[in-house]
Assembly symmetry: C2
Homo-oligomer: 220 residues x 2
């Protein structure tokens, strides 16, 4: 029995490692997509778009592992809910990866235009968001409720920067209608990053729910 | 054994009924949110926003049921994957509900402004999307691959209307900068509906994967 238990713990450990691997690919994609936009680097944007296939593939592999682990080991209570949470978390990660692709597509569109302004707030917003993803996964693996809660509060920072960006870009559009198309694409980029942060917050809220059974509103 | 099997089938049947119930609440929220925007009905918008709590609650209840069903009954092969797919589908439904809330919030924001145009394409886009959600859930319950495939192709219709809306609103903004703020909010509404359609497509793609093991790209 003890050895079965150890075998189960090993499988659970492996599962978490794969989730972390998927997470680090997504973090990288978020960074690269925004960096490709700020530096108008289409090759990097293309890497992000192609790299998303691997992320999608990992989601399916990890899904299968979660289900088989639950069905074959019939884990109880917290183990069961931890695997179930992992099964949900990878969907948030997959969607974050898709938003990185959305951003990379904007890089392609704006590749041959002069940017109306050097991008500062967007990369700052992305950096915080990327950190939120990393911390959310740490919180999951370590079942660290405090870290998870801290994370949820950081979402407000991101929303704040986003509304700044929103107002600033509207001003550009009003002052010079020629900027409208590009400013609109940049608005969407801000929105994509905000959504990635929402997914990171969902992830953290799932961890709080997993550990405490306490329900925070899913905000995405 | 046969009776256990029947007990399992009953639980699976119940589970699917609850997923359908959650789905019909979300379909209604999509319709109401867009209708509240087109008719500038703030009360209806508030109903959508408050109603989302029940949708979130249902997601958690169904999640628990899925996990317990898997862990206690150890379903094999297709039963296992059908429950796992249900577990994923409810996340898509929950996110669709959140986008309905996003739209209802725009209704609140634009409540006291004259709309720059009567909304026609946005409700049309929403009607198709609402149908996609319904058909996606039917496809899941009936394991109907053909219906699921048809659905995926309808996503292009939605994307097409969205890009029409996008171009039209940009024109409004360029012709009259006073429309920029409202047009930007309407652009976001178009984007929210497009994302709901993406979630419906994810749902259909999961059904195809469930029945055939064939992987279509998740596009959201």
């Amino acid at each position: 029995m003890g050895s079965t238990r150890n075998a189960f713990e090993r499988s659970l450990e492996e599962l978490q490692q794969e989730i972390l691997r998927m997470g680090s690919l997504v973090e990288q994609a978020i960074y690269n997509s925004v960096h490709s936009l700020a530096t108008q680097n289409v090759d990097l944007a293309n890497q992000v778009i192609e790299g998303d296939r691997l992320v999608d593939q990992l989601e399916l592999e990890i899904e299968d592992k979660c289900l088989k682990l639950i069905a074959t080991q019939q884990p109880m209570a917290v183990d069961l809910r931890k695997i179930g949470t992992g099964y949900k978390i990878i969907t948030d990660l997959e969607r974050m990866g898709d938003h990185a692709v959305d951003i990379a597509r904007v890089t392609r569109r704006l590749a041959n235009e002069r940017l109306i302004k050097p991008l500062v707030d967007i990369p700052r917003m992305a950096a915080i968001t990327q950190e939120m993803v990393k911390e959310g996964l740490d919180a999951y693996v370590k079942m660290d409720v405090e870290l998870a809660r801290k994370l949820c509060s950081r979402d407000d920072e991101v929303d704040h920067i986003y509304s700044q960006i929103f107002r600033e870009l509207l001003t550009y559009m009003m002052e010079d209608p020629r900027t409208i198309t590009q400013a609109t694409y940049l608005l969407f980029v801000g929105r994509y990053i905000e959504r990635i942060a929402d997914h990171a917050t969902n992830l953290a809220e799932r961890v709080v729910y997993l550990v405490t059974g306490e329900r925070l509103d899913l905000n995405d």
